[in-house]
């Protein structure tokens, strides 16, 4: 599903330049659950941003479902993103002005899905995440675990092929964290590809494979049994 070859990303300021990804190579197959680990500053988040088409690389190749997307423009990236990719963040990133239902509904609105269909799909996913009873609540009225469930619901509502999770349990206690990891595992089992950046060895063990990074390169891959 994802094939990255010799990917380079350099951040430049007036004073200095920092190489975030240095000739990085990575392949993720459809249906895989991959955890990306490494020390702070090793380029994990940059990799995730490029995988999520939020950022573009300076050089190298990025094939998404066999299509070269490294040189996509903003419009093409946005279109691909909303159809195929879901995001889960460490800090949930729910929109405070929107209720649980509306937060989950938002990606479908941007996709142009009709209202009746939206309602059906949002209810379906809220039910699956067991937060249906909270649909009218606002983010600030929910616990961290509940907020992350909503975030996961929002990530999966448009049935993406790929979910990118950036330390999804980083702001949760262990019990809530485990619940979120179970959710992601379930999704993966139903066929969704997941790439997750994490610092937690515990969370990483839910994945099929751990990719370890250092100085913008993959240095090791652990296959989980």
């Amino acid at each position: 599903m994802i094939k990255i070859t010799n990917l380079v990303k350099v951040y430049r300021t007036e004073e200095m330049q920092t190489t975030a990804l240095n000739q990085l190579n990575l392949e993720v197959k459809e249906g895989e659950f991959v955890a990306v680990m490494g020390p702070s500053g090793c380029g994990k988040s940059t990799l995730l941003n490029i995988l999520g088409l939020l950022d573009d690389p300076d050089s190298g190749s990025f094939l998404f479902n066999g299509i070269e997307v490294a040189n996509f423009n903003e419009r093409q990236r946005s279109s691909l993103r909303k159809q195929h990719i879901g995001f889960v963040f460490q800090s949930f990133n729910l929109i405070d002005e929107l209720s649980v239902f509306e937060n989950v509904e938002l990606p479908l609105i941007y996709l142009g899905v009709k209202e009746s269909e939206r309602r059906k799909r949002v209810e379906e996913v809220l039910d699956k995440m067991q937060i249906m009873h909270r649909q009218k609540h606002f983010p600030q009225q929910l616990s961290g675990g509940q907020q992350q469930r909503v975030a996961v619901a929002r990530a999966v509502v448009n049935k993406p092929h790929l979910i990118l999770a950036d330390e999804p349990t980083g702001n949760l206690d262990s019990s809530n964290g485990n619940e979120v990891m179970e959710l992601l595992t379930d999704l993966n089992e139903q066929g969704t590809t997941i790439v997750m950046v994490t610092h937690s060895e515990h969370d990483a063990r839910y994945s099929h494979r751990i990719v370890r990074m250092l100085d913008g390169q993959t240095v090791l891959t652990d296959i989980m049994v």
Partner: protein, 805 residues
């Protein structure tokens, strides 16, 4: 989609109440100011639009060349209307006499003064038909109402005031104790936006010499308060009218200079805006420049409000960056985000429009009071206006919202999510600073204008006019009767509260004036000169404190031999070519009143006879009891109340049949500066609004700056910075901008106010102090706005700010 978006927008606006409140206040104030300006403009433009086919309507006016100026006059000799009709029956012409006021008496009741009375001939309603006013005729027949003498048509309000709920038709009135008239019709009230307002119309057959001080109404020699209106239905009558007017000039010219006079037609829609005829119009005239200036002011104020929105929104955008990042991540395109934030601006603008409308409606009565107008909110309901408003709202939304929406839609989602958006670039900072400079430039410009107008107003009060104006009253004498005058004087002679009493036509600056042509051997032939005659008795000099430069003052014997002696002012002898007043003594001048040729027996120092708009003109002080229609009385300042009561009592004893009218000379003078007083009020209001909008914008900007600098402030405090140094750190950039604004506004204000001051023959110099005061005031206001939040931030516990950051 829309429902969803609106829901989000409303919640977002509600959540960020401070941001919403500041923007709402700024925009709604701006919109209110613009709406009021639109209403003022609409009102002025709507003058005289209630007659059918107004493009066919004209007023006869004239233009006379004098030695150094052209005199424009809307008054024409009284026979003009009739002459035009008799010369060509196809010409639809109407002659009127406009009386500022007239004494009216109902039966045996005490007389009272009615203002704005028009004597009009029977063609009046064929020329000016008032057909645009719904059901204009309440009672009576327009075809016959003004035929023959002794007929009166009242406006509804006047009829109600006179007769209450009784039917006014057939009731009789006594006009100025001179003529009786019967009410034959009632019409709707004349709108205030008419150049010819009236409360009562009297048939022209009632008009006689008595109503104009005994002068001959059939004479071509003077114009009085006569006006002639024409309705031209085709080209033939148009050229016939022009020929007829030419014939009037030719047949009445007594000299070659008179042949230079032009009589022509002024289109009715232009009357209200043609300043050339300002002096002879029955109501005020307004220049198109003034209206354009209002429009410019409106644009400036709304721009200031838009800039607030732009600056606050772009600052606030960084607070919203995370939300933008989330939206982008989950699939929002740049276009969708741009649309979303534009819709947010539109929602806020609409809310501001509603608030602005309510504010405008609330302030409309105050504006009417200040400007003395009858502006209504009715135009706001007109279809054109509604369509225009919607377009304006869209434009406003675009101006205010496009830049912030573009900025937000363009955020990098990765940086937004991490709250790591780069600080605004140099160009963005420069833009924001330029916008603040623009705002303050406009505000400072308005402050300078207000200060200059205020100083010119003070100058009106303080300028020595060459005569005493304080504690002097003019009491109107209804009859120029020497016996009654003597009686009145004898009743007051022992009054200790009276310093001086003079019978005259009026005070040096008065509503009564007599401008005549002047000839003298010293003056070149074929050039017309004008002098102002002040008919006055021997006490005039002492009453008004005139200064005699040469010769002697008037003697009782001069009054007995009218036209033998005259005292003139310095300006008159200068016109004759004399520099030394003594040289002029004994010289004779011919005045265009009964062609009298008096000898100059004395010369006074110059004194003003009109407002400071005008230069001092040549004045001839002539003993001429026929024109003594005023008693000028100088009072002892300490005991005015009692003295005024005594004067009234004496007056009522002498003139029991008439209405007592008294006015203070300094108040009459002040009324000449009514337009300036209105300008002053207007500028003051706009200055306050603009500086207020600027300040709330500044307040909002500082709030964001403070949030951004929290950590820096904390570190500086830990390192030992004082509160004042931190306040300066936050304030100095903004104060610098105010300084730059002062530099930009000063030359513009100087140029503009210099132009404004050109309207006055006597004016102040715009000194540097005005700019200094305006600058300091703007700096102070800006500093006060900034300092509250700056001090709050500087006083915060650094440990807390460093920990929470």
């Amino acid at each position: 989609m829309f429902k969803h978006t609106f829901k989000q927008i409303f919640r977002s606006l509600w959540r960020h109440k401070g941001f919403t409140g500041i923007n709402l206040l700024g925009l709604s104030l701006g919109i209110a100011a613009v709406l009021l300006i639109v209403l003022i403009g609409h009102y002025e433009r709507s003058f005289d639009t209630f007659h059918t086919k107004s493009q066919q309507l004209f007023r006869v006016v004239s233009e006379t060349s004098r030695a150094d100026q052209i005199l424009y006059n809307a008054n024409v000799p009284y026979p003009t209307g009739r002459f035009l009709r008799e010369r060509d029956p196809g010409i639809l012409a109407s002659q009127i006499h406009f009386a500022e006021e007239m004494q009216v008496r109902l039966g045996e009741e005490a007389p009272f003064t009615e203002e704005q009375v028009v004597f009009a001939d029977s063609l009046f309603f064929q020329v000016l038909d008032f057909a645009g006013i719904e059901d204009f005729w309440v009672a009576g027949n327009p075809a016959t109402a003004l035929q023959g003498p002794g007929k009166v048509v009242l406006t509804e309000s006047t009829a109600r005031q006179y007769f209450g709920s009784e039917d006014p038709i057939g009731k009789r009135l006594l006009l100025d104790n001179k003529a009786e008239a019967e009410v034959v019709g009632v019409v709707r009230d004349i709108p205030q936006n008419s150049h010819l307002p009236f409360n009562m119309l009297v048939s022209y057959g009632t008009f006689s010499n008595d109503f104009i001080g005994g002068l001959d109404v059939n004479s071509w020699g003077f114009t009085g308060n006569g006006y002639a209106y024409v309705r031209l239905q085709d080209e033939r009558t148009r050229s016939a009218t022009h020929e007829a007017l030419q014939a009037i000039v030719l047949s009445n010219a007594k000299s070659e200079a008179d042949l230079k006079m032009k009589m022509y037609l002024q289109p009715l829609p232009e009357i209200h805006f043609d300043l050339a005829f300002e002096g002879s119009n029955p109501t005020y005239t307004v220049s198109s420049n003034y209206l354009n200036m209002l429009v410019l002011l409106g644009i400036f104020i709304i721009l200031i409000a838009c800039i607030n929105y732009i600056n606050l929104s772009t600052s606030f955008a960084f607070t919203k960056s995370k939300e933008v990042g989330v939206r982008k991540t989950i699939g929002a395109s740049k276009k969708q985000l741009f649309f979303h934030y534009m819709l947010e601006t539109f929602t806020l603008t609409c809310a501001a429009a509603v608030l602005g409308l309510l504010l405008a409606l609330a302030f409309l009565p105050t504006v009417n009071q200040i400007l003395d107008k009858g502006i209504t909110a009715a135009p706001l309901l007109e279809l054109d206006f509604i369509a225009g408003s919607l377009l304006a709202l869209l434009l406003l939304t675009f101006i205010s919202g496009a830049y912030p929406a573009l900025i937000m839609a363009g955020f990098n989602p990765v940086s937004s999510l991490k709250n790591q958006l780069a600080l605004p670039g140099k160009s963005s900072v420069l833009l924001r600073k330029s916008l603040v400079v623009f705002q303050f430039s406009v505000s400072i410009l308005l402050i300078i204008c207000t200060l200059v107008i205020a100083r010119q107003m003070e100058y009106f009060q303080d300028k020595e006019l060459g005569f005493i104006k304080e504690a002097v009253v003019e009491v109107k004498l209804p009859e120029a009767d020497s016996v009654k005058r003597a009686h009145f004087q004898s009743l007051l002679q022992n009054q200790t509260g009276i310093q001086q009493l003079s019978f005259c036509m009026g005070a040096p600056v008065s509503d009564n004036g007599l401008g005549v042509s002047m000839e003298a051997p010293e003056l070149p032939e074929n050039t017309s000169y004008e002098a102002e005659i002040i008919p006055c008795d021997i006490n005039y000099k002492a009453t008004f404190g005139l200064e005699l430069l040469a010769g002697r003052w008037l003697l009782p014997s001069d009054e007995k031999n009218i036209g033998s002696a005259v005292v003139v002012n310095r300006q008159l002898i200068n016109t004759l070519g004399y520099t030394d007043p003594k040289e002029a003594i004994g010289k004779r001048i011919t005045l265009g009143i009964n062609s009298m040729r008096p000898a100059i027996v004395g010369v006074t120092e110059d004194f003003h006879t009109s407002s400071l708009h005008e230069d001092i003109t040549p004045v001839a002080l002539l003993p001429f009891p026929y024109f003594y229609v005023t008693a000028g009385i100088r009072l002892h300042p300490g005991q005015m109340r009692n003295t005024l009561a005594e004067i009234e009592e004496a007056w009522r004893t002498v003139f029991p049949e008439h209405v007592y009218e008294i006015s203070f000379v300094d108040e009459t003078l002040a009324s000449r500066y009514e337009q300036e007083r209105r300008d002053y009020q207007l500028f003051k209001a706009f200055s306050v609004i603009s500086i207020f909008i600027c300040c709330i914008g500044l307040w909002g900007l500082i709030a964001f700056v403070v949030v951004r600098k929290t950590k820096e402030i904390g570190i500086r405090k830990v390192l030992g910075a004082s509160i004042s140094s931190i306040v300066m750190l936050i304030s100095k950039d903004f104060l610098k901008l105010v300084g730059i604004a002062l530099l930009i506004a000063s030359p513009l204000a100087w140029y503009y106010m210099n132009q404004w001051l050109q309207d006055f023959a006597y004016r102040i110099e715009i000194g540097w102090a005005v700019f200094l005061i305006a600058g300091l005031f703007a700096l102070l206001i800006a500093f006060l706005t900034i300092s509250y939040q700056a001090i709050k931030a500087a006083s915060a516990n650094p440990v807390k700010s460093l920990r929470t950051d």
